[in-house]
Symmetry: C2
Subunit: 387 residues, 2 copies
C-alpha cells in the first residue's frame, strides 16, 4: 500500500451560479491547473468524478469522460464516476486513493461537481426524494429535512438539547463562512436570526439547513514519494474509515446513536494511528445543525448527549477543544453534493499551507478529519489528512 | 499491490422480468451467497455497486446502501456506486479490485444491477439520450443506435464490410446464447432473420442491436492468498486496461479507429504480461454487431478493416482463432447496463471451472479478457482474467 498525497486543487465559488454544469467543471479545473506549474492535464492518468445526480439535475449521464474532455485530460489508467449522494465527492477521493495506493494510477484527479439550481425548483426538490428508499420512505415524503427534524426532536427529547444550541452551530459556521470567498453565504447570522428564519420542518428552521448549491472542485492525488515534484507543501492521506448499516429508516437501530459513524471513526483513527485528541481541524458534515452536534459526540470530543453543551461552551471554535468547520461548513459554504468533500479537502490543504484568511486560520494544525454522511445518516465516510 | 481473485458470484436470468429493482438485487445476491458455504454476508467488508441510471429508470439514488441492506451486508471498509454507463459494472469490478489490491478491503463484492423496462418505454428511450453529450449530441437525437449506425456506414465505406458479415456476429452470439439459461434471447437466428428484422437505424436492423434488459449479477473479490479458503477454483485478476479520449462525437478523431480501445488493449496486455495469441476466451462488448467486428481488429486477431472477413471465416467461434462471446454476448444475453460486466466475469469463471453447457464450453481455457465500451465508444475498459 503506497502512501498517497494531495498536491493541489481548485474550486469554483459556490452558490446560485449563473453557470452551466459545463461552466462549473471548467472553472474548477482551470483553477487547479493554473495553480500547478509542474503538472499539465496530459500528465493525469486517472480521473474519478463524484456527482450525486447529474442524470436528474442536468439530464446528463456518463459524466466522467465529459469532465475529462472539458479539462483536456485523457485518462489512460482509470476513469469512473462515483455516486454516494451527499458523500459522492468523498467516494471519488477514496477511489482515487485506492488507485494511487495500489499502483493502478500515478496521477489521479478526484473531481466533484453538482448543478442543483434548476429552472423549476419544485423538480429539484422532487429529485431529492429519491435519495432515501423510494418505496418505503421517499413515497411518504421523507426527504432530508423531515428525517433530520425527527432526529433533532429525538435528541431534544432524550438529552434536553435546545433549539438555541442548534442555532449556535449555524452562528459559528456562518461566522467562518463570512471569511471564505468561495462560500455561498458570506454573512454572519445571530441566534435570533436562526430562530426567526422560515420554519422548514419542526424544529429545523431555514438557517438550520444547508443550501441548494451549484459548485465544483478538484484535487490531485499522487504517490507520496512523488509529491515534492509538484509542491513543497503536500497534504498526506493518513487514514480512511467508512461504514454503513441498513437503509430504510424503519430499519435503523436508533435515530440518536449513529453506529456506522462510530465504526467509521474507529477505523479512521486506527488506520491513521490517531485519537480524537490529535485532531486540530474537523470538517464535519453539518447538512443540518443537529448533525454537527451529534458528530461532536461520535468523534469523542464530548459525551453522548452533550453535543449541545459542547457548542454552548464554544469548544468547537478555533482555540477551543477542536476547530470544527473553520471553512464555514455546509451551512455556510453551501452543499453542492458531489463537490462538498473535495471542497473540504482543499480547504484543509490551504489551512496546512497557511493560505486561509486570518480569523478562520488554525495555526500549526497538523492533523485533520473530513467527514460526510449520506442518506438517512446510515452511511458515514471519513478521511484523515495530515501535513 | 496484492494479487486479487474472484471466488464466487451469482446472477439473475436476464430479460424482460416481472421483477422490481429490489427483486433483481435479492435474486442475484441470494444466488451468490447460496453458492458459497464458507462466506456469509457478514464477512463482506466492502461493496461497490455498478448501476448506470437508477435515478431515471427506478427513481432511486444512493443505491449502494440499498443493495447492502437487501443482501444483509454491513460494509465497514468501502462503499460506493460506480457509473460509467454501459461499463458501470466493470467500473465496480475495478474499484473493488483497487480496494482489495491496495489493502483497503479484504472481502469486496462488486454488484451490478439495471432495471431497464419501464411502464412507459418511450421514457426508457428518452433516458438513453442523456448518455452522449446532451448539449451537442443528445439534443440532435444521437443516441446509441444512430451513433453505431454511422460507425457501421463508415466501416462499410472504408473497408467494404457488408451487412451479411455483421449479421454473422448476431448469428454466432445467438447460437451461444441459445445454450445459456441466463440469456434474454435463447433462440438461434439466421443471417436472413437478421437482414429481415426491423430497420432501426440504417444499416443496423433490430437483430444487430443488443436488447433492453433487466438483470443483476455479483462477484466476490478477495486477496489471492485467501482465495483457497472459499473455493478450490478461484479466478485471478491478471491485468487491467482503461482509456478515454474525448466525448462529444464531433471531437472524436475517427469513427473506425477506436484509439482508446487500442490504448486499453496495450495496457491490459502489458499489466497481464500477455499478447493477443494468449487469449482463449474474449467477452467483448457487442452492443451492436459492428462493435464486435471492430474489436476483433483492435485486439489484434486480424488486421484493421478485416473484421468482417474474420467472422466470415468462423475465426471467433470456439475452435477458431479465439472464442469470442461464448456466453452469447450482449446480443444474445441482453445488456442490463450495470450488470453486463459482472455477468461476463461470472461466465468466464464458470468456463474456467467447466460449469458451462457443452457446445459453448471452451475446454482448457486459461486466459480471458472482458471488454466494455461506453458512450460514443470513447471509453474502453478491459479486465484480464486467468485460472
Amino acid at each position: 500500500m503506497r502512501k498517497v498525497a494531495i498536491v493541489g486543487g481548485g474550486a469554483t465559488r459556490c452558490g446560485k451560479r449563473e453557470a452551466t454544469w459545463r461552466d462549473l467543471v471548467q472553472e474548477a479545473g482551470k483553477a487547479m491547473f493554473d495553480s500547478l506549474s509542474n503538472l499539465s492535464p496530459k500528465d493525469v492518468d486517472s480521473l474519478i468524478v463524484g456527482a450525486a445526480q447529474p442524470e436528474r439535475s442536468a439530464f446528463q449521464a456518463h459524466v466522467a469522460p465529459m469532465v475529462a474532455e472539458y479539462l483536456g485530460i485523457t485518462p489512460r489508467k482509470v476513469l469512473a464516476r462515483t455516486e454516494l449522494m451527499c458523500a459522492s465527492g468523498q467516494a471519488a477521493i477514496r477511489y482515487a486513493y485506492a488507485c494511487v495506493s495500489s499502483g493502478l494510477s500515478d496521477v489521479a484527479v478526484a473531481f466533484g461537481v453538482e448543478k442543483m439550481y434548476m429552472p423549476d425548483m419544485a423538480e429539484a426538490q422532487t429529485n431529492m426524494t429519491c435519495v432515501l428508499d423510494r418505496e418505503w420512505d421517499g413515497v411518504n415524503g421523507l426527504s432530508a429535512p423531515p428525517f433530520f427534524a425527527m432526529t433533532a426532536q429525538r435528541h431534544m427529547y432524550e438529552f434536553g438539547t435546545t433549539k438555541e444550541q442548534m442555532a449556535l452551530v449555524s452562528v459559528k459556521n456562518h461566522h467562518y463562512s463570512s471569511l471564505n470567498p468561495l462560500a455561498q453565504f458570506q454573512k454572519e447570522v445571530t441566534v435570533e436570526d436562526v430562530l426567526k428564519s422560515l420554519m422548514i420542518s419542526p424544529p429545523l428552521q431555514l438557517l438550520d439547513c444547508s443550501g441548494i448549491t451549484d459548485g465544483a472542485a478538484c484535487v490531485i492525488l499522487v504517490p507520496a514519494e512523488d509529491a515534492k515534484k509538484y509542491t513543497d507543501t503536500p497534504m498526506y492521506l493518513a487514514g480512511s474509515g467508512q461504514a454503513n448499516i441498513g437503509n430504510a429508516v424503519g430499519n435503523l437501530a436508533s435515530l440518536t446513536d449513529w453506529v456506522p459513524l462510530r465504526m467509521a471513526v474507529e477505523e479512521a483513527f486506527k488506520t491513521a494511528h490517531i485519537s480524537s485528541d490529535d485532531i486540530d481541524i474537523a470538517e464535519l458534515h453539518d447538512c443540518f445543525t443537529i448533525s454537527e452536534i451529534m458528530e461532536y459526540e461520535a468523534f469523542g470530543w464530548c459525551e453522548r448527549g452533550k453535543g449541545g453543551k459542547f457548542i454552548e461552551e464554544g469548544q468547537p471554535y478555533i482555540g477551543g477543544k477542536v476547530a470544527v468547520n473553520p471553512r464555514g461548513g455546509l451551512l455556510g459554504c453551501g452543499h453542492p453534493l458531489g463537490a462538498t468533500a473535495i471542497l473540504q479537502a482543499l480547504d484543509i490543504m490551504q489551512q496546512f499551507r497557511g493560505e486561509v484568511p486570518k480569523g478562520r486560520y488554525v495555526e500549526g494544525a497538523k492533523t485533520a478529519v473530513a467527514h460526510n454522511l449520506s442518506g438517512p445518516a446510515n452511511v458515514h465516510s471519513i478521511m484523515v489528512y495530515s501535513r
